[in-house]
């Protein structure tokens, strides 16, 4: 299913109904682009720093969140970046993509995805999506991370490599506490047989980074298999509240 995006028939759609005008995907207000200025500011906060280790939005001067400075962040990743704050309408949008069968929305977001990723991360040799377990994939019908990766790969002309597989059907991460999450994931991923990624710079792509345990595990597998560097990109992450870093959570 890789790199098979036809960016077609997009503009005609807007003309179909008299009533329909171009509106912001998140707030529904009229906008000339797919997201309005206000929503981009509210959810993407481009001026705000991201924790280099886990992608979380952070305040202040440090380049990592408190959690990661305490050594709890994921290893094996050179840098992680989140496009936006996983909250409100942006969270709802990611939910619609994932659970309401609307990954096509990612296509309308392509320009924001690519411009943020390119600004934040060095050019990769390949883009690798975080895999879904086959059972879940069969039920849902698609892997949102893979659709996301294919949008990026298509727009940037970079190879998409669907090379990781999920060997354990883990309990959904959101149902678990932090420590449980790490245990839950151990050895959940492996490289598909016969794949070569020696010396490659890789972007690992997922929809949402929570504790970053998932991308950490995937990065470990990629590094063990000879990847030179692994970076990660995701649509949404939490935000460290400036006063009380411990309560920073997206759940």
């Amino acid at each position: 299913m890789a790199n098979k995006f036809f960016l077609q028939a997009k503009s005609i759609a807007e003309l179909l109904w008299y009533e329909e005008r171009k509106t912001c995907l998140l707030c529904g207000k009229q906008a000339s682009t797919s997201l309005c200025q206000d929503c981009r500011q509210l959810y993407f906060r481009p001026e705000q720093r991201r924790c280099l280790s886990c992608g979380k939005l952070i305040e202040g001067e440090a380049d990592r969140c408190q959690d990661c400075r305490d050594g709890n962040g994921p290893k094996f990743l050179s840098k992680v970046t989140a496009l936006g704050h996983y909250e409100g309408a942006w969270k709802q949008c990611i939910h619609n993509i994932k659970y309401k069968g609307q990954p096509y929305l990612l296509i309308g977001l392509a320009e924001y995805l690519t411009s943020w990723a390119v600004k934040q991360l060095p050019p990769p040799d390949s883009i690798v999506p975080v895999p879904l377990h086959p059972n879940r994939l069969a039920q849902r019908g698609f892997n949102q991370a893979e659709v996301l990766a294919s949008v990026l790969a298509g727009c940037l002309g970079i190879k998409l490599k669907d090379i990781l597989c999920r060997v354990k059907d883990t309990t959904p991460q959101s149902a678990l506490g932090r420590q449980e999450r790490l245990v839950n994931l151990r050895c959940a991923f492996s490289l598909k047989p016969g794949i070569q990624i020696k010396e490659e710079v890789i972007w690992l792509v997922d929809d949402v980074v929570t504790t970053a345990a998932t991308i950490g595990e995937c990065a470990a597998v990629l590094k063990e298999s000879g990847a030179q560097e692994v970076f990660a990109f995701c649509l949404g992450a939490g935000r460290e509240s400036p006063n009380n870093p411990d309560t920073a959570s997206i759940l």
Binding site: A9, L15, L16, Y18, S32, G101, A138
Partner: protein, 577 residues
């Protein structure tokens, strides 16, 4: 939702999301595992089904999956249904709950329910989404409805099963190969080809509904419609149409601002009295929300339900529904009468989807009434072939004739570097505009968005003491600017014709610049002229068509309007006759 291939007693091949339920109800014995999206399973032609062996069925499916570039790695195989399956117990339990099924059937009667709507419907019934899906499948087994994929494949393209669109979809890669999301009906909730629709069959609950509606049936005897003579005559025509068992469609050709909505009320009343269901559909949100209270006032105690992008999902069954035209796509064989307001308000491409939706929402025995000030050539041709009944409402409610546009032959002034330098033609136009501005506010119509600001600038220089604003349909500031004009805070609004509908201003005059432009057909010109003289306080006014040459369209538009006035005179509908 995943579906499994099963066979019925006669060897027919069909798909079910819950084979356990088919085992329970029909004694099905085996199914093909694993489950797949319904769209991938609709590959068996009816004439070959009985002839295929079990292994041939698997082979045919496998070929189709390969062709679709489906990534399924598991081997397709037949499994016996005698083995316990995870949904057995649920199915058994729900199959016994007849009251729950009846309740569900009342709600989904006449509806097309997409998978994304399941959760809101399940909440109403206070059951889980899986339980709802099982109940819906029970309804399918009992013949109350059917499952259809969100989109079906058609050779190399797709067709949306909800709106009928075949050209406009987004393809994206899924586990099951290329997947399509329909872009033409996404505004009522996106639908893709992995998903399914429960589509109810017509009239399965007729008796049930009649009993229910009994308590809130409307009786029209007491109504005083307060019609003008012109409205009376058109309303009477419509009632004749409604009683004619052979007539299917009627067109109300009304003058702009003639009060065409109200004349449908007696017919609606007639339908409600017989416990029949009626849909009043309008293209714009504001029209829908404006009309609902008017209908509610007339048809108390019968509840008038609103469905629009703004209203939350409402699953109650109502005899009278007001909805934006998008919403017709949520229905299937639901209405005995559909009234389509401003049927001409669509660009051509939208028409096909709308036509499909209307046809789908209407019962096979149902009737449609179209309301229009500027009917299209195609509907007029239908009238000509006597396939559509016609009634005219030529006079405005205040009894004054429509202002007849005056044609002025003035060449369009030159534009250089985004400005209009002073020229004789600009000054000539300016003189006419100044004359009109003595009478009140002014609509100045231009054909393209880029001309709006150029003319705002030019007119601001010409009329230094006047407030000039400009807007177009996709102008983000449109609402504010239009409000400033309607409240009298600006004297002139320069706008594209798209903006012309639904704005009523007291003392407005109208000027159409570039009236010979290719974008302006008869109907656009008539609509723009229709902005003038709409209120009883100010029933008259002037309309100027300004262009370098008088096109056929201009001549025809003037003729249309004169003809309405003539009809009004003949009918004796004008004041002072």
């Amino acid at each position: 939702m995943l579906f499994y291939i099963l066979r019925d007693k006669d060897g027919g091949i069909y798909a079910s999301p819950f084979p356990s339920l088919d085992k329970l109800c029909n004694g099905a014995e085996a199914y093909v595992y694993p489950g797949l999206p319904l769209q991938l399973l609709n590959i068996f032609r009816s004439n070959e089904q009985g002839l295929l062996s079990e292994s041939q069925i698997i082979e045919k499916l496998a070929v189709s999956l390969r062709k679709n570039e489906c990534l399924l790695t598991e081997k397709l195989r037949w499994l016996k249904l005698s083995v316990f399956s995870p949904h057995d117990e649920d199915c058994l339990r729900l199959a016994r709950k007849e009251e729950l099924l009846t309740k569900l059937l009342t709600i989904v009667q006449g509806r097309q329910v997409t998978e994304n709507e399941f959760s809101s419907l399940a909440k109403v019934l206070e059951i889980s989404v899986t339980e709802l899906a099982i109940l819906l499948h029970l309804a399918v087994i009992k013949g109350y409805g059917e499952w259809v994929p969100g989109l079906s494949r058609r050779n190399n393209s797709w067709r949306c099963e909800r709106c009928g669109n075949e050209d406009c979809y987004q393809i994206w890669p899924s586990y099951y190969g290329n997947t399509a999301t329909c872009l033409s009906c996404k505004s009522i909730g996106p639908l893709n080809s992995l998903q399914v629709i429960y589509r109810s069959h017509e009239e399965t609950l007729k008796r049930e509904k009649e009993k229910k509606a009994g308590s809130t049936t409307f009786t029209s005897s007491e109504q005083d419609w307060q019609f003008t003579p012109a409205q009376c005559s058109a309303a009477a025509d419509l009632q004749l149409f409604a009683r004619d068992p052979l007539a299917k469609e009627a067109l109300v050709w009304a003058a702009c601002g003639a009060g065409k909505t109200e004349i449908t009320f007696p017919v609606i009343g007639q339908y409600l009295e017989h416990s029949q269901s009626v849909l009043y559909a309008a293209p714009r949100l504001d029209v829908v929300h404006d009309i609902q209270p008017r209908l509610q006032k007339f048809f108390n105690p019968c509840k008038v339900k609103v469905m629009s992008g703004l209203s939350p999902p409402d699953w109650t069954a109502c005899p009278l529904t007001v909805a934006t035209t998008h919403q017709v796509l949520k229905f299937s064989r639901a209405f005995d009468l559909i009234i389509l307001d401003e049927m001409d308000a669509y660009p051509y491409a939208g028409n096909q989807v709308l036509e499909y939706g209307l046809k789908q929402a209407l019962k096979r025995t149902g009737k449609t009434i179209y309301l229009s000030a500027t009917p299209s050539a195609s509907i007029l041709a239908k009238v000509g072939r006597q396939e559509c009944f016609l009634t005219r409402l030529p006079a405005r409610f205040h009894g004054y004739p429509l202002p007849v546009p005056e044609f002025l032959k003035i060449k369009a002034p030159k534009i250089s570097e985004g400005r209009i330098p002073g020229s004789r033609s600009l000054l000539a136009i300016g003189d006419y505009l100044r004359e009109l501005l003595f009478e009140g506010q002014l609509f100045v119509f231009v054909p393209t968005v880029s001309l709006v600001n150029i003319w705002v600038q030019a007119l601001s220089l010409l009329f230094k003491d006047k407030k000039i604003t400009g807007s177009w349909s996709s102008d983000p500031d449109r609402k504010r600017k239009v409000a400033s004009f309607t409240s009298g805070n600006s004297d002139v609004i320069v706008c594209t014709s798209i903006l012309e509908r639904g704005i009523t201003v007291h003392k407005a005059q109208a000027v159409v610049l570039y009236a010979d432009h290719a974008l302006y057909d008869v109907r656009a010109l008539v609509q723009m002229a229709g902005r003038v003289g709409r209120t009883a306080a100010c029933p008259q006014g002037r309309v100027l068509f300004i262009a370098g040459k008088q096109t056929k369209e201009i001549t025809a538009a003037i003729k249309w309007i004169e003809e309405q006035n003539e009809l009004a005179t003949q009918g004796g509908f004008l004041r002072g006759q």
